[in-house]
Symmetry: C2
């Protein structure tokens, strides 16, 4: 059960045997269809998800009703709507499946229970936080320093595979530009 996830944990979490199996019992299988909304705006995001297969995105709605993608994640990544999950407050964004996906979920209370129980689990989480935070920092730097053309080129350079799995519409909304502008950057 949770085989690929267990492999992932063995490689990244400094725990094994009974403790690891105990941790695994806190995760539940959850599948999602393409385009399925997993968490809606104004709901409290009560779970954190591990992606075994597929991909998710987090998006917000702009003043004119447009969707803007704040985050994307694929296989072997954790996702949740952090501001909502951590503070257990209503979300300002949506969590959506952008492919047929196989997920594992853990509830807020169980997640933090494991942090209290196992320092190794907290370290694992902390290292994950460090990494996603560095990614956020890079994303901020791209927004303040680069124009549309260079944001696209940069993304193409650093995440060529991800681009292939996203529609132009979603990629444009991730890069902070209109679909038309993205389409024009591509033909250069």
């Amino acid at each position: 059960m949770h085989k690929s996830f267990k492999q992932y944990l063995i490689q990244n979490l400094n725990l094994s045997g009974e403790k690891l199996d105990y941790i695994l019992t806190h995760f539940e299988e959850k599948n999602s269809k393409k385009n399925e909304i997993i968490i809606s705006k104004n709901k409290i995001c009560s779970h954190l998800y591990f992606i075994k297969k597929g991909g998710l995105r987090i998006y917000c709605i702009g003043s004119n009703g447009q969707e803007w993608t704040r985050y994307v994640a694929f296989e072997n990544e954790f996702v949740t709507i952090m501001p909502s999950f951590i503070n257990q407050e209503p979300s300002t964004t949506y969590l959506q499946s952008i492919e047929i996906s196989e997920l594992l979920s853990i509830s807020f209370s169980n997640f933090y229970k494991l942090i209290d129980l196992f320092q190794e689990w907290e370290s694992f989480y902390r290292i994950n936080l460090e990494n996603i935070h560095i990614n956020s920092i890079k994303r901020i730097e791209e927004f303040i320093t680069l124009d549309a053309k260079h944001r696209y080129k940069n993304c193409l350079k650093h995440h060529p595979k991800l681009i292939q799995r996203m529609s132009n519409k979603i990629l444009a909304s991730y890069l902070g530009m209109s679909q038309e502008t993205l389409s024009r950057q591509k033909s250069k």
Copy 2:
């Protein structure tokens, strides 16, 4: 010694007595002049700083030589160039004092030594990471959803005090717009 910092830790870190004092011995006083560069681009950021007084910013250089402010921090906040500090690799950005500041610094090796020694210290750091990551997320959402006018208005609403302590030049570079554009937003 480190009196205000000790108060801060007593309130936010679940440790006291000898252990707390032992932690404090790993921090060194450091003062900085206004505009002083504390860490230069291409250098490895070997320390994390706590701001007792004053303010710092992190900025990067755009393709046309402009400075873009990625981060600002004032009293009772920790700052470091995270991508460089965590991975001990050359920084792509500068860390600069924007006011006369009184800092406390801890080295990379001592910081992670304390994490290994005290689970409480790791928790303290983890909670800090959660908070700054949520702030980064909000900043990303502002960049993808808001135009220049609304980015300024939003900043005015959520960080009115910080704005007063930053020059227009730095504020504009923080909000991702030219000084002239910011100046025009203000007169509305």
